[in-house]
Symmetry: C4
Subunit: 282 residues, 4 copies
């Protein structure tokens, strides 16, 4: 089973062409952040911005607007109850749904709204409570996507796949992934201390990096945001996901060299420098 490698990262992150503008680096819409979990969607957006998305918009509970802009003036905002959200879903390149979403009726409505407004040309990343809601009601899966990426940790995957953790073998995971996204291309990022990535073509990759200092709230939200940013810039494909998984852990390992606990926002802050090194082969 291949490990994700520095070479893979280099093949994904290439120098930007001079004759480009922000529209060339993709539009990412992040949906999440209830009145209790606003920080999660802010961290995901922070990752999406720092990983280079051209434009980032956050659909969240209105109570989170102040903190969002205090940290991230680069992000645009839309109240997740705004009736224009459906139209916006149809206009972006990548949707990240789940960080801090919660499991309220409003959260379910948002998944429904996502599902019906997709165009079929978009990449969707599903994380956290979005996965738990889909576990309860498979009809919520946003199937009209070019690529569906799911980023559960093992317990979320258990709920979603009905595979208890000891039975989460590679073959079982592949079969469950395919069953979840019938007719669509899908990627499963199964987070653990040795994160694996599965795709519906049957490929399986392991992430050689990462450290237990990253075991803290927000690390997963940050990963979801980086995947969003990379798919927006580098295309909605498995390699973009692999590169995101790898750089997230690489950043965490660098910070972890002299920090006992790695705050997720430190990972986001480090991304522009690491991406530059990779792009320039420094």
């Amino acid at each position: 089973m291949p490990e994700i490698s520095p070479e893979l990262l280099s093949s994904v992150i290439h120098p930007r062409q001079s004759d480009t503008h922000k529209g060339d680096y993709g539009r990412v819409l992040l949906i999440g952040g209830s009145d209790q979990y606003g920080g999660a969607i802010i961290m995901a957006a922070e990752a999406a911005i720092n990983s280079g998305s051209g434009l980032v918009c956050v659909a969240t509970h209105s109570i989170n607007l102040g903190a969002l802009h205090a940290r991230l003036p680069e992000a645009m905002f839309i109240d997740w109850r705004d009736r224009n959200l459906g139209a916006m879903i149809g206009q972006v390149d990548v949707i990240v749904c789940g960080p801090g979403l919660g499991q309220s009726d409003q959260a379910i409505k948002l998944l429904q709204l996502l599902k019906v407004n997709l165009t079929g040309e978009q990449t969707v990343i599903l994380d956290a409570s979005a996965l738990d809601l889909i576990a309860k009601n498979k009809e919520l899966m946003p199937t009209r996507s070019k690529l569906i990426i799911m980023t559960p940790h093992q317990m979320e995957w258990q709920r979603l796949s009905q595979l208890r953790i000891p039975f989460q073998t590679d073959s079982a995971n592949l079969a469950a992934l395919r069953a979840l996204v019938p007719g669509s291309k899908g990627v499963l990022v199964l987070k653990s201390n040795h994160t694996k990535v599965f795709d519906t073509d049957g490929n399986i990759y392991t992430n050689p990096l990462g450290n237990p200092g990253m075991a803290t709230g927000g690390t997963g939200d940050t990963l979801a945001g980086i995947i969003g940013g990379f798919c927006a810039q580098f295309g909605g494909k498995v390699n973009s996901v692999l590169a995101a998984v790898y750089i997230h852990s690489w950043a965490g390992d660098l910070i972890g060299q002299d920090h006992y606990v790695v705050r997720p926002t430190q990972i986001s802050a480090l991304l522009p420098r690491l991406m530059k090194k990779v792009a320039e082969k420094l």
Copy 2:
């Protein structure tokens, strides 16, 4: 066609005289920031403050107050529905209108308010949705200005000038600029990967700097804020605009040396050091 040069920058940014106070460095009013796009006007204000404006006031949707002051306690605030806004427009030296303004009825009212309250002695910078609104209704152009500066990117300029991008030649751009501000002095900053600056006297300048890491949301808002800050301090004239365009890209290039993506707030943060170097010939 002349390139903007370090010598031009040096001719604009001079050491401050000791016997001066904040009033000598100009009052800038920034108008923008709807309930969705508050970050844009915050980034513009961040640029205006860091570029040295003596006093900065932000007229924006009231929902943006908290984030504004969390980032920028130096900025004053006025609710963009406040009936005193018209009087304030008449009292400042420079107005930046457009970042995050949106295209609501309120946005149109603000452009009308701007137009009628100008004194004829002020510099106005029009950016983003202010330009789109004027594209739809030329009557909104704030003609009673000492200098009107417009900062569209190519697509915004297409909407404003009716020149499709392939037809945006220098001579066509000059003619369109003159037609837009009949009887006024105007400057067009046409943003692209090779930004050009046109004035109604027929001068055309190119910006030799800039990099694609700057292709991210907020870069333009930051430029508008720097132009505002420079016109406030160094006078509402073409050279102030040229210096602003140049230093914005210079900062972006320095940050881009080791960052794959250049966050606009990094540009603002770097300005005081760069301006010092220029002023002191360091």
Copy 3:
């Protein structure tokens, strides 16, 4: 009487095992932050996050949500009037109650809610106004705890123990501590310029570190948060408390080497580096 030592710190802070996840590092719930004193609970949460808690949730007045997430997107939020708070109390590992709590009727209700929802397996840290409320009504003591840790300064201890400061001898303090938590295991962190720690087993420890630059508002809130973070990760036991007291002062002494006043948030920011040094014997 033994001093807390670097060896004690090393025995508590050990390298994290690779096969772990955030759940292994404990759930901390912090209760406090009225409409006047929101900063206190934010500082306590900042300490809990930086000291390595796996998950941190803050129960506070809703007015504090924006500032909380602007500083700490890693923290989860619950309105302290939310009827689900009782259930949440029963699900976490450690509760820190008191920073910025105030003495309103709502504060009293929160102490009552805490008391009835504890499971007997949890560690509770009581600080600041929580102690003052208990001083007035001993029935509020949350006795159904695995460990009760109190962190008064001398005047708060006087109100709680009825021992005037000159009479706060070691033996009197021990007796008062035991009387306050009959049948429970308790720890008293008596804050002064020579902080002492007492436990109901009769042990007494002194803290050799600390400096008067730390004599500023928020230092105590930060200590309470570190104790919470350490008990969550390293277990609810006296050694975790001792390690927290020691590292708090060590950080303060390092910062105080070149700062006249030590801002509490600087202490929190330094923790991950210090903990790494200890864990790796650097």
Copy 4:
């Protein structure tokens, strides 16, 4: 006329004694920050905290709470309409009134509230719109103070003293100061590019430091906060004021060595290091 000197600074800022607690470093209450000018009182509070006040409370418009705590969790908050504000005025050591206060009816009420709740043992610093309101109605002067410190710039002093700027001679300023605070001890900090300090005993001092990069909004608010912090720690006396004026400019000069414009929050951030150098004769 003596210049304020490094020796004066050293005589004021002394090493802290080990057997002290936050109460020994004074309680500062800052009153100001309308719905338009909230940043001003935040900057003053930032200065008071960084200059070492033991406890800082901010009485301001409730809309400013979020930004205050996002920047300064160390600060306590009280709604400036809170009926307990009068009692709080009586309990603190130093009151700074004016930054961002505005001239509304509420501002006038606050000055009246201040006046009647003073105990006669407190130091009051009057800045900005507080001075303008007193200029219009001398009855608002808070005469029941141990020391009244006013910090106008030249135009504010003109309005307050009725001395037009060309007539602001030393002797005229002294006479006007004495007339303004009959029967009280008063200090006038007359801000200009060569700030002078006058006291009612007839002493006049000049500040040899400062630079025009400091000519930006918020510099004065920061000075008011430092004066508040120094009077709280080092006593309400002229030397505390002189030290505050000096260190404010010294910090500004250091920052100004490589920054064209000196942001006021940079001055505050530098204070703990400078104070340490002075206290330790480094």
